[in-house]
């Protein structure tokens, strides 16, 4: 890895690459990371972030979170705030897996109760929450019903009995992006996603049983406010998105934007940055379709939580309500959202693209539920399946990143290389010996997700705190994992 010669440290965990680094940059690149993380970043992170800096209407800087790594178009961990009136919208700034996101679920269960049943729980979760190639969900929907899902998101799921109103309160945007219009999505997108509600997918998607250890509490007051209390408490975390529906929406609009750019006089350095003016018919159409996909993802995670509650109720032979299985928070990673931010001395209406980055609103933000108004938004950083994950909270100093922070620990090596270095079956056995029970849909997929393929989640979480983007609340240790 080599960093650009013009990279300058501008804060304890903040770096800048000035505009001259690549031709056409409208703004500098700003990277939030420790020196160790910056030095370990792929060369392509700097190049891709600089490419993002060329997008029309970008405001402030092209941003990289501490977990940034080489992706397609935008780096993963890339954030771009773009003027909503004069700027563009880029599907590549959101990614194919629209509203890929995380949900953290607390419980009243303690490890001593869960440990004897861990094997049954992992197997039952794997059976009830399908994962891997071509998996189909248990919810059978007509096209009209699926269009309701696209309009309503998690609200549809709760309306159908797959959750509680409280789940919606603790889901970003209440589990529904306004502005979704199923007329703006293709028949192919519907056909891909219609039978996938309630499925995890593959790659880095997972459903994990985790444990709060005594040394894992960083801020007891915030942990308590988020429903995490005593050491030994068991929680669940899962990571998935809009499945084939969102993938097809992005595929369709990338193709459409590549063809439409000449009519707007737009050119991009990388075809994955294909874009259209947000204020144009093309831009608005994609936004409406993207909102449909975001809603499909919220509904998907809500339905998965319903299945989790069913499994726990069955295995503990108690009603789910008595197990305290409640959503701590559900947060999106791959979206473009209309938000108002202070830029210089004025408030600006911005379309904030976050690709592999988490929104992290500060205490007092009007969009937070009342229960979290004083704490700031819960932030979930998923680590590798071998190491652990973090619960954090948004901070006022996060304004520097348009209130965005890291979303994971960030890969350090390609999937192809990880597969050459690791055998899935051996990794599964080694993890079992270390007290982590893994059910994997694919052994090669398991190898690709080995801990050695990721940065240290501890360093990433610490870096977000040093950079002032979010503060650590608790570290969560994996004990059971259903791997997509």
């Amino acid at each position: 890895m080599s960093v650009p010669a013009t990279l300058t440290r501008v804060g304890p965990a903040e770096w800048e690459v000035p505009k001259g680094f690549r031709a056409g940059m409208r703004v500098p690149v700003r990277i939030f990371a420790t020196e160790k993380l910056v030095q370990a970043m792929d060369d392509q992170v700097f190049i891709q972030a600089a490419n993002v800096a060329t997008l029309p209407g970008i405001v402030g800087s092209s941003l990289c979170m501490p977990d940034a790594h080489w992706g397609y178009g935008f780096p993963i961990g890339g954030v771009a705030a773009i003027d909503a009136e004069h700027g563009v919208i880029s599907p590549g700034g959101i990614g194919f897996d629209i509203n890929c996101g995380m949900r953290l679920v607390r419980s009243d269960l303690e490890w001593a109760e869960v440990e004897p049943k861990l094997g049954r729980l992992v197997n039952a979760l794997a059976a009830r929450v399908p994962a891997g190639v071509g998996s189909r969900g248990f919810v059978s929907l007509t096209r009209a019903e699926f269009e309701d899902v696209l309009r309503e998101g998690a609200r549809w799921a709760v309306r159908k009995g797959f959750g509680t109103p409280e789940d919606l309160v603790f889901t970003e945007a209440g589990g529904c992006f306004p502005g979704a219009d199923p007329e703006r999505v293709s028949a192919k997108a519907i056909a891909r996603g219609q039978n996938q509600l309630g499925t995890l997918g593959s790659g880095n998607h997972y459903l994990e049983i985790q444990l709060l250890r005594s040394d894992g509490i960083f801020d007891r007051e915030l942990a308590t406010a988020f429903g995490l209390g005593q050491p030994g408490q068991v929680v669940l975390m899962f990571h998935c998105g809009s499945r084939g529906f969102g993938h097809q929406v992005a595929t369709d609009y990338l193709d459409a934007f590549l063809r439409a750019m000449p009519k707007y006089g737009l050119e991009v350095i990388d075809p994955e940055l294909a874009c259209a003016p947000f204020a144009s018919d093309d831009g608005r159409a994609y936004y409406a379709a993207m909102c449909c996909a975001a809603n499909m993802a919220f509904a998907n995670r809500q339905v998965i939580l319903h299945r989790i509650r069913e499994v726990f109720a069955e295995i503990f032979a108690r009603p789910a309500e008595s197990l305290g299985l409640a959503t701590v928070y559900d947060v999106a990673h791959n979206t473009a959202k209309l938000e108002t931010h202070a830029v210089g001395s004025r408030m600006r209406h911005l379309l904030v693209h976050r690709k592999g980055a988490t929104r992290a609103f500060p205490p007092g933000h009007a969009e937070l539920p009342a229960a979290y108004r004083a704490t700031g938004q819960p932030v979930i950083i998923g680590g590798s399946m071998e190491t652990g994950s973090y619960l954090l909270a948004g901070t006022a100093t996060g304004s520097a990143s348009f209130y965005s922070t890291a979303h994971g620990s960030g890969r350090t090596m390609s999937r192809t290389r990880a597969r050459k270095l690791v055998r899935g079956s051996e990794l599964q056995r080694a993890m079992r010996e270390r007290g982590i029970l893994v059910h994997a849909a694919s052994m090669s997929g398991l190898a690709e997700e080995a801990g050695l393929a990721y940065k240290s989640v501890d360093e990433v979480a610490e870096a977000t705190e040093l950079a002032g983007l979010s503060r650590r609340v608790a570290r969560l240790t994996p004990v059971g994992n259903v791997k997509g």
């Binding site: 392509q44 992706g71 194919f96 190639v133 071509g134 056909a191 790659g203 993938h247 390609s414 090669s444």
Partner: protein, 147 residues
């Protein structure tokens, strides 16, 4: 090393999966790319029998865009019809800006017991997408899949 099926996965984009494919004709290149996509999807592509067929007809202005759409069609059929498919025949005719493709895809319903799932490929990206003809006249392509 390219496999004898005309593709190889390369150590490239950290987040995703990149492969290179080659063929003596454009049709052979597209067929090799379809084999790579199948190998990314299941661990035992050789176990996928040619039991059902689907026809694909596409037209595009650029060869690289045509290749991306062709592979995207296979990804779509995996989710929409639950099929594991490869190209049996691919005929690419014409030149930019009017290139036509007719292909016969063959395969069978996904059977994860026999095929063994690998990656639920999300999409065929346009990142670094390139289709070139080298000095020996062989067609080569580089494609990154979002997994």
């Amino acid at each position: 090393m390219m496999s004898d099926r005309g593709f190889r996965f390369v150590d490239d984009v950290t987040s995703d999966l990149t492969f290179e494919a080659r063929g003596t004709t454009r049709g052979a290149l597209f067929a090799a790319a379809s084999e790579a996509l199948l190998a990314a999807t299941v661990e035992r592509p050789e176990a996928v029998r040619n039991a059902v067929e689907r026809r694909v007809e596409l037209e595009d202005t650029r060869l690289d865009w045509l290749l991306r759409r062709f592979l995207s069609e296979i990804v779509y059929l995996r989710d929409a019809e639950h099929l594991a498919l490869r190209a049996l025949e691919v005929d690419v005719r014409g030149e930019a800006p009017q290139i036509r493709l007719e292909a016969v895809l063959a395969g069978e319903p996904l059977d994860l017991e026999r095929h063994v799932g690998a990656n639920d490929v999300k999409a065929v990206t346009a990142y670094g997408l390139a289709v070139v003809r080298d000095e020996r006249g062989e067609w080569r392509a580089r494609i990154t899949l979002d997994v």
